[in-house]
Amino acid sequence: MRKIILALLVSTTTAGCVPGPQPQHRTLFDAGGMQVISVFANRTDKTLSILYGDSAALIAARSEYRQSDKEGQLTLVTYHQADNRFWYGSLVNGAIKSVEHIGITPEAGATPAFAYRLSQGQPTADASGHMINADERVRQILAHRPVVFP
């Protein structure tokens, strides 16, 4: 009987030391009312990206950013890619890698002006590791044609 009580005590104490399930946190980016303009990925960089825009940016996107009547805002959120644990054959976003913004300012009779800002993460580098300047980065981001929604 004494052995049983001892075994119970040991198992209870040991169980108390075992860490419980770790709290799980998933990143949900607050786009602040902006809507998805495009989505893309890169298997080499292991990234997934979503390009958001406000209502003015959504309209500007339809002219491939050649025209804009109002000030607008684009935000590109790039995530680290992860295996989808529920489906082999699928990759899903994990943590945010970077958040970039482009301000769109109308210019009378000309292409709008674009102002680039990086608010989270590291500046983007090219394949050889050189940092891409703001103008080139803006060009890269604007080259993503809007996706078609129903």
Binding site: Q24, R26, G33, A41, I50, R62, Y88, S90
Partner: protein, 315 residues
């Protein structure tokens, strides 16, 4: 009644009942093998060892499988297995159906749901090793190779973009409804984005998953097992154009998939009502409400999170 007679009855009754049960056999048969799967020998040998007893017309019945009531259980398993897919009539399925089932099969194996643990407990030889799983993965990957800079996909996307008008505000048109009563959700673009996914299986695509306020709050609070009543998830699917530098670019819009949590209405499918609306015309998938069961069966691979596949990875 004498005590000895009573004891005799106690012993005899179960034996008589057991013997009586043997007159009620399910009569499990093996119909002819008409269109067997054509796959490399390394693959078929795994399938024969681990899957064929329930998913083919070559079921091997041991003596104990033919004794009622075990035979009833075995028969039910075999009939269910053959109804899901049958490797003996495999080549009657379209290549698209075959690939879909094979990817689903690999995922059920990786998830430990297949072969059924109750089956492998009695048939340990059916257990799959890591080498077996690697063979199956390589096989399905080989069935769906990447097509780099696919000009057909590029042309389709350009055509759709020109005719549909990208990001154009939705025009007012009747809201399509699937055969199970799940309606299209026209306002989803203002909802919270839950995740984005890129599939490299037989459904090469890029997706964005949106959640309504209830679903978004559930993800933030990690209260998604089960998801709360009233959760609505909308997944938008685009084809992809894959480039050799690793770029995965969105192609034409393909479909919208919806899951609505309503335990009362969809209790038989984990509380979820499923729907899929194809093409820009948003044509509902499924002629009858029975399609809901097919969706549910596939989503069982994600039963750990109440049947939702596309959750962002945890940090």
């Amino acid at each position: 009644m004498k005590r000895s007679q009573k004891r005799l009855w106690i012993w005899a009754t179960p034996i008589v009942l057991f013997a009586g049960l043997q007159f009620f056999q399910p009569g499990q048969t093996n119909p002819p093998v008409t269109h067997p799967i054509q796959a490399p020998a390394a693959v078929t040998s795994i399938l024969k060892r681990a899957c064929y007893d329930c998913h083919s017309n070559e079921t091997r019945l041991h003596w104990y499988n033919q004794v009622a009531p075990v035979s009833w259980l075995v028969s039910e398993h075999v009939n269910t297995g053959r109804s899901r897919f049958n490797f003996s009539t495999w080549d009657t399925l379209s290549p698209v159906q075959q690939q879909g089932l094979l990817w689903e099969m690999v995922n059920m194996v990786l998830d430990g749901k297949m072969p059924l643990p109750s089956y492998t407990a009695i048939h340990p030889a059916a257990k799959l090793s890591q080498e077996d799983i690697a063979v199956l993965k390589a096989y399905v990957n080989g069935l769906s190779p990447a097509q780099y800079h696919d000009t057909t996909m590029i042309r389709q996307a350009a055509q759709q973009y020109t005719t549909a008008g990208a990001t154009a505000p939705g025009q007012s048109k009747p809201i399509p409804v699937a055969a199970n009563g799940v309606a299209y959700q026209p306002g989803f673009r203002s909802w919270q984005v839950i995740s984005t996914t890129n599939r490299f299986d037989n459904n090469r695509s890029i997706r964005v998953l949106y959640g309504n306020a209830i679903a978004a709050a559930a993800v933030k609070d990690n209260k998604i097992n089960p998801w709360p009543q009233g959760s609505v998830l909308v997944k938008v699917v685009w084809d992809i154009v894959q480039e050799k530098n690793g770029d995965i670019l969105p192609g034409a819009f393909n479909n919208v998939q919806i899951m609505i949590k309503d335990n009362k209405k969809f209790g038989a499918s984990g509380g979820w009502g499923f729907a899929k609306f194809n093409g820009l015309e948003l044509k509902p998938y499924g002629k009858t409400a029975a399609f809901n069961t097919a969706c549910y069966n596939c989503h069982k691979a994600a039963s750990d999170y109440d049947y939702v596949f596309n959750l962002p990875a945890t940090q």
